[in-house]
Amino acid sequence: MILRAAPALVLSLMALPVAAGLLGTIGPALRPGALEALLAWPGLARAIALSLVTGLSSTVLALAVVVLILATLSESRAFTALRRLLSPLLALPHAAAALGLAFLIAPSGWIARALSPWATGWSVPPDALILNDPFGLSLTLGLVAKEIPFLLLMALAALPQTGAPARQVLAASLGYGRASGFVFAVLPALYPLLRLPCLAVLAYGMTSVEMGMILGPGLPPPLSVQVALWSAQADLATRPLAAAGALVQLGLVAAAMGLWLLAERAVIRLLRRATMAGLRARALDAPLAALALTLGAGLGGALALGLAGLALWSFAGSWTFPDLLPQTLTFTIWQRAGMGLTATTLTTLALALASAVVALALVLALLEAEARQGRRLSLPAQAILWLPLLVPQIALLPGLQALALQLGAGGAAAVFAGHLVFVLPYVFLSLSAPFRAIDPRLATLAASLGAGPDRRFWHLRLPLLLRPALTALAVGLAVSVGQYLPTLLLGGGRVTTLTTEAVALSSGGNRRLIGAYALLQMLLPTLGFALAILVPALAFRHRKAMQR
């Protein structure tokens, strides 16, 4: 009975907060004076332009790199290495990635240090706006680096449905190169499956608050960052202003999605014409593969180096410019900030565990209900699961914040509910394909042996799914740990997590403390993924077929 209600429960759990949040944002935004106040803000035009340009360009670039990597590198040894990096990169909270990149490219960062003073002549950090540049270039770079793993993972999950290997072989037998064969024969089948992930990336890129705060320009910041600043102010008078900004941001995202879909048609038409021209382009394969390798390794390497730098800062004693490494290593910051770090880590972990476990249980119930009824969720229902990823957080949360205030439900419970809404779609994305891929004959066979539905779930499906379920749990943990805006706005300032602390510290100069928070921020998801690999490996160490 409960199980039969699971799909409806999960879908309303996704749709209701989105609807309530939107209504709660639109209401105050339409109050007299709100829109006027927003229009009177001198930074508006530039903030809008920043949101559009960084969002669209980062999405186009990320998609281009993903297509390039898939078209030239798949099945190469470099690809296997890249593939292994994907889950940790995906698990990396956006804030930690941004802080790492910021350390790498800042005027006093690792790149400048590596080149100074011998190449640059700098003995003090230059007074240049490399980080937080007014055009949002460093923000775009950060978004591209962080969204490639997501798009690549979505593409790899979708590829088996396209019959890609057969298409590639067919194209090659007709004389096409690797890259042209992929673009003309595989991409047309793959892109429709990547459309929703692309739109989610676009919505995220246009509205990311924590990345915008850390990497984006300051005066004015991208619109979403300004709306978040207004929303977080204690002064209730700025709330209508924030709501008006959120509404404009929502319109912007909708317009950009429309633009994306129009551009998509134009590109498809162009591609079709190119396909008819019979371009083999075999000579392009080698240079494109080199480019893909450079970009993939470069961006992955930049993230890894930045994070290593942050970790090093947390143990650094004296570390002056332009030294490449600190003169001494100490535990001072860990000892001095130990209490705060421990408390914040525990809060973060509790929130992450609670939301990920509940999300996993709900997703399992949803998929099990699907299996028992022998009927998949309809396409519109699946789209509802994507809603929290497609509607920007910044458009929802001011409304939900107001709602939580009215209900008197601020604090940890509201933050938990908020996390659940954004964690669940990722858990579903991670678990649905492996769940649906279980051979249905196994369940029929178990039933013919007398096993009823409950026994089939607990003794057959769940053990078979141990690894994907734990991976989905780790994904959920990572998403929850990375949540910034829901924690900030729904917590009413009373709930601090590693992410809110790290972002709050980012504008100050205490790199050692930032490093400590960022290190813990990446440690929690990494632990989750490590357990997701170790536990099944141990539990099934004598079962060869379970170790794929």
Partner: protein, 214 residues
Amino acid sequence: MKAGLHMHDLRITAPGADAPFVRLDGQVPPGQVLTVMGPSGSGKSTLLAALIGSLPAGFRLSGAITLNGRAVTGLPTEARRIGILFQDPLLFPHLSVAGNLAFALPRGLRGAARAETIEAALEEAGLGGFGPRDPATLSGGERARVALMRTLLAAPEALLLDEPFSRLDAARRAQIRAFTFATARAHGLPVVLVTHDVQDAEAAAGPIVSPFAD
């Protein structure tokens, strides 16, 4: 009581179709094999799905199935007491060989009796001592025999065979086929064999039907 498996005017209609594509009326006495033949795609597996109660959503079934006098048409698969062997042995990969057999044993049997029954079944299949093995380390023929014993341990009243020999190499094939039929006969089970292999049909030594519309 009417012993054996009886199919009274069974008709299966595909989603959206008007006329049934499978029509079958007949009976299989205990120990006999009814062979159902037809080219691939004709609906052989759908017929077995109807008999076992796992028809995909949208398919319509009319008529009645009785097993040893018991009406099973409306029952869920787990209550029908009909065993099935698929093309692949489909041993549960997360369980040992003994675990696979234990999965099939009725709840009532406990403790040492459970272990003894499992070992006896393994002996019967010539696989004594295979209990702790990982199914992934077994040969094709060994897996097929474990799958058969697993089905029998659930004490079914009928057995369905969905081309269970087609994936075996020629040498093993005749051997496993003979073992399967002999074991089913020894247990007094009515058997429905679905195949497109003439040798399978001959070895079954029973009536042959082709109940499919073309």
